[in-house]
């Protein structure tokens, strides 16, 4: 069977990926980072800003070590990450089924979409005062804000995924007499997964961006609180250490968690190139 052997001999995408280029890309990326730190140091030496408002790179590193040793950094990081996870999971738990319904039913779209489009432009931060009145200061109000900011990307993306699903898949499901829930589980959800993953990625991103603002106003823990609190203590080194922590956690999630999720699902299924 010649066509079989042909297909088997064809290299998989992973094998095609060039081996040497990433190291060159890596050097260029790392070079920019080093140049940035050098420029930072030079600005610090130039006394363009007063030293109490502009920390040197090594001072930030010192603040890192100190807050790490005192446990302050880990405690606040964990507080932020826990709120973020709960908020994103809640947004996904409501947003994915909601998006499936909106995508699958014309009536649902007609009934709910105008309303969603109306409250969607309200920035998450604008919910904070109300959230404090409802839930008090701390965990619940922050989670509420992340939820309300994060639900839209996952909701709208899931809906788009369902409406973009190839009509032929539905024909196959009907010809082979798939019951409704079987169709949802085996066809609708996996078929919309490229869009759903993009939605979760965006939800995670906007949530992580809003959490700091929320914690500055309505919390006494978390990285946002730590940065804001450092202002009162005139510790710009701690502020920057907090900011870098935020950047690193965001980077790790983007490059490891979500890429991994894509690798074990849509990349494995050869569906990667569809959206995005």
């Amino acid at each position: 069977m010649s066509e079989a052997t042909l297909a088997r001999a064809a290299p998989t995408p992973a094998a095609i990926r060039p081996r040497r280029r990433p190291s060159r890309d890596f050097l260029l990326g790392a070079g920019t980072l080093v140049a940035f730190v050098l420029a930072w140091k030079l600005v610090h030496l130039s006394r363009l800003f007063p030293p109490w408002a502009f920390p040197a790179p090594e001072q930030v590193l010192g603040a890192f070590v100190k807050t790490l040793e005192s446990g302050e950094l880990l405690k606040n990081t964990w507080a932020s990450v826990a709120r973020q996870i709960v908020g994103v999971v809640l947004a996904a738990l409501v947003g994915i089924p909601g998006g499936l319904l909106l995508g699958a039913s014309r009536d649902f779209r007609a009934a709910l979409l105008p309303f969603c489009r109306m409250i969607y432009p309200i920035p998450g931060i604008a919910w904070i005062p109300l959230a404090i009145l409802w839930f008090g200061i701390g965990f619940k109000s922050t989670v509420f804000v992340i939820f309300f900011t994060g639900i839209w990307p996952i909701l709208f993306n899931t809906m788009a995924g369902v409406t973009a699903l190839d009509g032929q898949y539905t024909d196959v499901a009907r010809v082979y007499l798939a019951p409704r829930m079987f169709y949802v589980r085996k066809v609708l959800v996996p078929g919309s997964l490229p869009f759903i993953i993009t939605g979760i990625r965006l939800t995670y991103g906007v949530g992580w961006r809003v959490i700091v603002g929320a914690e500055m106003i309505s919390s006494i823990t978390g990285l946002g609180f730590m940065i804001d609190d450092a202002r009162w203590q005139l510790r710009p080194d701690v502020m920057v250490a907090g900011m870098i922590t935020i950047a690193m956690i965001g980077w790790v999630m983007e490059n490891w968690a979500f890429d991994w999720l894509e690798r074990v699902t849509i990349e494995r299924w050869g569906m990667k190139s569809q959206p995005r």
Partner: protein
């Protein structure tokens, strides 16, 4: 036995009423291989979808073994032109789709798919995903999926239309082998005269829109057929003559539609 009686299909498009199929009647005997041949846009795929129960007819009936059918049922399975495999399922899961939808136990499903994938020459590919397969292999999976539900009638909508000529010829021979082994009644849509005459016990030639059955050509010669034979050439000439009028009319219609739109 499959019976199509006085079947018509109209649909509304852009404010006007279009008659896609008109007064189609045909009978397909048990175990018979019938090819539906026509110019593009003649409604042959529409007819197949109506038989599948995917779209309703405007008038007329379809009955299978004496029972009138209007919706998809366990007596029919379909092989689609562009395979329509689910990329998120392995080859085995795709082949088992119809059985899983019917709630057949996993062990029995696995046994059935293992046997069928072996029958279509894909025994070693059960755990692969469709995007690792060539077009011909994907269509084998699609055929295995259709056979798995043990239908009375196998509907095939230009299944080899997207394949290159060599793979196509291999697949045609494969299909005949499978058809003999599993003794299914087949209704096979194609726009290729050679394919229709190579495969079918009978070829139904359709007219340009509105689609009607223009002629019925029985192909008596024994399989495997010799496409180089005098008999085959004579049939091909005869069919081509019937079809070319319709192709001309179909192209005229398309030109008019392009001008008016």
């Amino acid at each position: 036995m499959v019976q199509i009686e006085a079947l018509s299909k109209r649909y509304a498009a852009g404010g006007s009423d279009i008659l896609a199929l008109s007064g189609i009647s045909a009978t397909i005997g048990e175990g018979e291989f019938v090819c539906l041949l026509g110019p593009s846009g003649c409604g042959k795929s529409t007819l197949l979808k109506i038989v599948a129960g995917l779209i309703p007819a405007s008038a007329g009936t379809i009955s299978i073994a004496g029972r009138v059918v209007t919706a998809p049922g366990p007596d029919r399975a379909m092989v689609f032109q562009d395979y329509a495999l689910f990329p998120w399922m392995t080859v085995a899961e795709n082949a088992e789709f119809g059985l899983a939808a019917r709630g057949v136990a996993p062990a029995r499903r696995a046994a059935a798919s293992a046997e069928l994938l072996k029958a279509v020459g894909l025994g070693e590919f059960a755990a692969k995903y469709p995007h690792h397969l060539s077009g011909g292999m994907k269509q084998r999976v699609s055929i295995a999926r259709a056979l798995a539900v043990d239908p009375v009638l196998l509907l095939m909508d230009e299944p080899f239309g997207a394949l290159d000529a060599q793979t196509r010829f291999v697949m045609q021979q494969e299909l005949l082998r499978i058809w003999r082994a599993y003794r299914k009644t087949v209704l096979f849509v194609t726009h290729s005269i050679e394919e229709a005459l190579y495969l079918g016990d009978r070829v139904l030639v359709m007219t340009a829109r509105p689609g009607r059955i223009k002629a019925e050509i029985p192909v008596a010669s024994a399989r495997p057929r010799d496409i180089g034979s005098v008999e085959f050439a004579r049939l091909r000439a005869q069919t081509l003559e019937l079809l070319s009028e319709e192709i001309a009319r179909s192209m005229e219609q398309e030109a008019t539609a392009a001008v008016t739109s």
